[in-house]
């Protein structure tokens, strides 16, 4: 009798263990690169129309992001009103809401600033924060201890050198500060993206050559040679610019450099005329010098033909926001800061 009872109890216990069922799993929190594709948020997903930041009296452009914490990012951008350009700062929460009205962070206050300062990028340094920006005279450097009040250097950090392939003024600088204090600065000139490096921001920059096998200096990223590939025009076949360089250490033990950039196709014949298409491209590198460009754009210009000047911010391991310059209305009368996201397979409510 005892044995029968034990047998019955064991059977009941075994049956009880198997009554629950669970949904299929194994695909949660999987690793994902930042390589998109990205999707522009629309006016149904943002509190105030298609742009995250807009100003009816001015054009807001060239955003650069600086992570503050897991939910907040400081966004530095150019405010262009007439001929005057200045750099403003706003704080964005959860990628879609501006915390407070933006404030001016750096104004053209020195003689060599000329008509203005703009296209900033900001990085954290040992002493606080460093900002690179462009002026008509060259690239400038400003420093700050709190990220809000900035002090500009007395002269340009780097000016164009035609002998080094920089045939137009340098613009849209971006920087990465390595853990050892060394810096990599990338910038745009003559429709390509170039780079320079130094052991710190207080010592002169050395120009980098992305391919030392050739006699002339090669750009980090240049317009593609695939201008006419099987009848299709490559997304970066015309020009590249507005770089944003970021370094990321993977748990696999490598540093990956990601370079987001504006891309412009070679002119395409349309209805007897010609036009080009804009897109956002991505190039990656494991050494910060030799970059491989992604085959396709990470954000196409179909939804917004004015999209350019990307800056990425990840608020977690699996999601990346991409702040870009773009149109705030369909006619393009007002341009501001838009935001795209990857993965782009879900829609967001208007209120974060």
């Amino acid at each position: 009798m005892t044995a029968r009872a034990a047998l019955s109890a064991a059977l009941a216990l075994a049956l009880g263990c198997g009554t629950g069922a669970s949904p299929g799993g194994g695909d949660r929190e999987l690793p994902a690169g930042r390589s998109g594709p990205y999707r522009l948020l629309d006016s149904e997903e943002l509190p105030e129309g298609a742009c995250l930041l807009r100003d009816q009296a001015a054009t807001l452009e060239d955003p650069a992001s600086l992570r503050l914490d897991v939910h907040r990012v400081a966004l530095y951008f150019t405010r262009r009103e007439g001929a005057r350009r200045s750099i403003h700062r706003a704080v964005v929460v959860d990628g879609r809401r501006v915390e407070a009205a933006s404030a001016e962070a750096l104004a053209p206050s020195l003689g060599w600033h000329g008509g203005g300062v703009g296209a900033p990028d900001v990085a954290t340094t040992r002493d606080g924060f460093a900002m690179l920006y462009d002026t008509p005279a060259g690239l400038g450097l400003a420093t700050s201890t709190d990220g809000q009040a900035w002090r500009s250097a007395d002269g340009p950090l780097l000016v164009a050198d035609a002998a080094a392939g920089e045939l137009t003024p340098l613009r849209a600088p971006t920087l990465v500060v390595r853990p050892d204090g060394g810096v990599i600065v990338a910038y745009e000139s003559a429709g390509a993206i170039w780079a320079a490096t130094a052991d710190g921001l207080t010592v002169p920059l050395r120009r980098l050559d992305a391919d030392e096998r050739t006699p002339r200096r090669e750009a980090l990223v240049a317009p593609g040679a695939d201008a006419r590939d099987a009848g299709l025009v490559g997304y970066a076949s015309g020009a590249v610019g507005d770089p944003t360089l970021r370094a990321e250490d993977s748990l696999a033990g490598r540093t990956l450099y990601r370079l987001f950039f504006s891309a412009r196709s070679a002119p395409v014949g349309i209805d007897g005329g010609s036009a080009f298409e804009r897109a956002i491209g991505l190039a990656g590198s494991f050494d910060g010098v030799h970059f491989a460009r992604a085959e396709s754009a990470v954000l196409s210009g179909r939804a917004d033909p004015a999209v350019r000047a990307p800056s990425a911010w990840s608020d977690g391991p699996l999601r990346t926001w991409l702040f870009v310059s773009g149109r705030c209305d369909s006619a393009g009368r007002n341009e501001g800061i838009r935001v795209a996201v990857a993965p782009g397979n879900r829609r967001y409510p208007r209120t974060p």
């Binding site: 009798m1 005892t2 044995a3 029968r4 034990a6 047998l7 064991a10 059977l11 075994a14 263990c17 198997g18 009554t19 629950g20 069922a21 669970s22 299929g24 799993g25 194994g26 695909d27 949660r28 929190e29 999987l30 690793p31 994902a32 690169g33 930042r34 390589s35 993977s250 748990l251 696999a252 033990g253 490598r254 990956l256 450099y257 990601r258 991505l282 190039a283 990656g284 590198s285 494991f286 970059f291 491989a292 460009r293 992604a294 085959e295 391991p317």
Partner: protein, 449 residues
């Protein structure tokens, strides 16, 4: 007992709904699992139906076993748990011995019935990371039917069949689609699915040698399970209302053929030995060769066709091109050798017996580095197992034989593995994979005199 060979033959020849095999990963029944699976030469209970069918011939009386297995993976990439499904379900079977031509003979049935789902199929792109040897692969129903004989006292031979089901299916849609008024489309559809049986062979031998040593060998053949899905869409596309005589009508057809390798078991050859060092102590070891190199890329292969008959009256309209299927990378899995060791110590407690068991095996990962588009995640496993059992004898008239209760706990520790990509723009990028799997189970066995 004469009916048993006929029953076994019938089971072997009949189509069955049984499917693939989670037992390679977690073991079968508590005693064998807690010995690290190193039981090819030693097995002599219902688990012989999986480990070595020859072991069935050790039994001289009917034996039935029922247990439960719960394996709970905690597998992560970059430190985040990927929530891989647990494998859990009932395990058990029976052994019915007898004599045939005066030779000891036994029929065995071994079953694993998952209680979450009987089978699972997922068609993922090759770029999507997945724990290739876990997850879907372990959500299977398993049924094995085996026969064993002992032509001499020192030799046992066994063979059996394991049953799988292959799925072929399709659906057809026909009718009229209005491109301008989709709600007015008129479509009919039909679904046709077919389950066909797949069988594979397993066989084994055990040879008793002098000095209390037994050696064994087992063979499990390869099987592959394909899921094929065909879709055909046939009809007319109306630009305009479907009842509008002025609407532009474009007849056409769209075909999609998909083939997915939903399950694969590599061919396995195992050699093992057991040494009964003392009446109450035995140690055992196995070495298993696993032919993973024949594993094909399991991601879906697609063949898409589109055929539209565009009227000549619409010269500007052209048939859109269909996307070309993405090239699938070769798997390049490697054959592996899996060493296993186990030890069992028994001690009498009155007329009953208490057993303590330890086991270990190292299972090298067959998955190669994944520098390209594929993300078949896996890492080498160290599996340490522990188990206990009690065998009660002569419990009364209702149970004149034995009742055994065994429990096991096995922990898989996966090596940390860095997956580094050749392309810095890889859509997934570098990541670090690691994890553990806790495998718990119990088995209740009833042996008759």
């Amino acid at each position: 007992m004469r009916a048993l060979p006929a029953l076994a033959l019938a089971l072997a020849l009949a189509p069955s709904a049984a499917r693939a095999n989670p037992l390679d990963m977690y073991g079968f029944l508590s005693r064998s699992t807690s010995l690290g699976g190193a039981v090819t030469a030693d097995v002599g209970d219902v688990s012989a139906g999986y480990y070595n069918p020859a072991g069935l011939a050790r039994l001289r009386a009917f034996r039935a076993e029922l247990g439960y297995l719960h394996a709970s993976p905690s597998l992560s990439t970059d430190g985040r748990d990927n929530r891989v499904d647990a494998s859990r379900g009932f395990i058990g079977g029976l052994v019915a011995p007898g004599r045939i031509f005066r030779l000891p003979f036994a029929f065995g049935l071994a079953v694993h019935v998952p209680d979450d789902r009987l089978s699972q199929v997922r068609a993922l792109t090759q770029t999507q990371p997945r724990w290739e040897l876990y997850s879907v692969r372990l959500q299977r129903l398993y049924i094995a039917a085996s026969l064993a004989i002992s032509p001499w006292r020192w030799l046992r031979l066994g063979a059996g069949l394991v049953f799988m089901a292959s799925t072929r299916g399709g659906f057809d849609i026909s009718g009229r689609i209005s491109a301008t008024q989709p709600a007015n489309s008129a479509l009919t559809h039909g679904v046709d699915a077919d389950l066909t049986a797949v069988r594979y062979l397993q066989a084994g031998a055990q040879v008793d040698l002098p000095a209390n040593v037994t050696v064994g060998a087992a063979f499990r053949d390869e099987f592959r399970l394909d899921t094929q899905l065909d879709a055909n869409l046939q009809g007319q596309i109306y630009v305009g209302g479907i009842n509008d005589p002025r609407a532009l009508v474009i007849p056409g057809s769209y075909g999609l053929r998909s083939r997915v390798l939903t399950a694969f078991q590599p061919r396995q050859v195992v050699l093992g030995a057991v040494w009964r060092m003392a009446p109450n102590l035995r140690v055992m070891a196995d070495l298993m060769w696993v032919q993973w190199s024949r594993y094909e890329n399991p991601t879906a292969s697609l063949d898409v066709s589109l055929d539209l008959t565009i009227p000549a009256s619409v010269p500007g309209l052209r048939q859109p091109s269909v996307p070309q299927p993405a090239a699938r990378e070769a798997m390049r899995f490697r054959d592996t050798f899996v060493p296993r060791v186990g030890m069992e110590l028994t001690t009498p407690v009155g007329r009953h017996t208490l057993a303590f068991r330890l086991g270990y095996h190292f299972d090298p990962s067959p998955a190669p580095a994944q520098p390209g588009l594929t993300n078949f995640i896996d890492a080498s496993r160290h599996v340490a197992a522990f188990g206990m059992g009690i065998t009660l004898r002569r419990l009364g008239a209702a149970l004149p034989g034995t009742v055994s209760l065994d429990v096991h706990a096995a922990m898989q520790l996966l090596d940390s593995r860095s997956i580094v990509k050749a392309d810095p723009n890889d859509p997934v990028g570098d990541y670090l994979a690691t994890g553990t799997v806790l495998n718990l189970g119990t088995t209740l066995a009833v042996g008759f005199e």
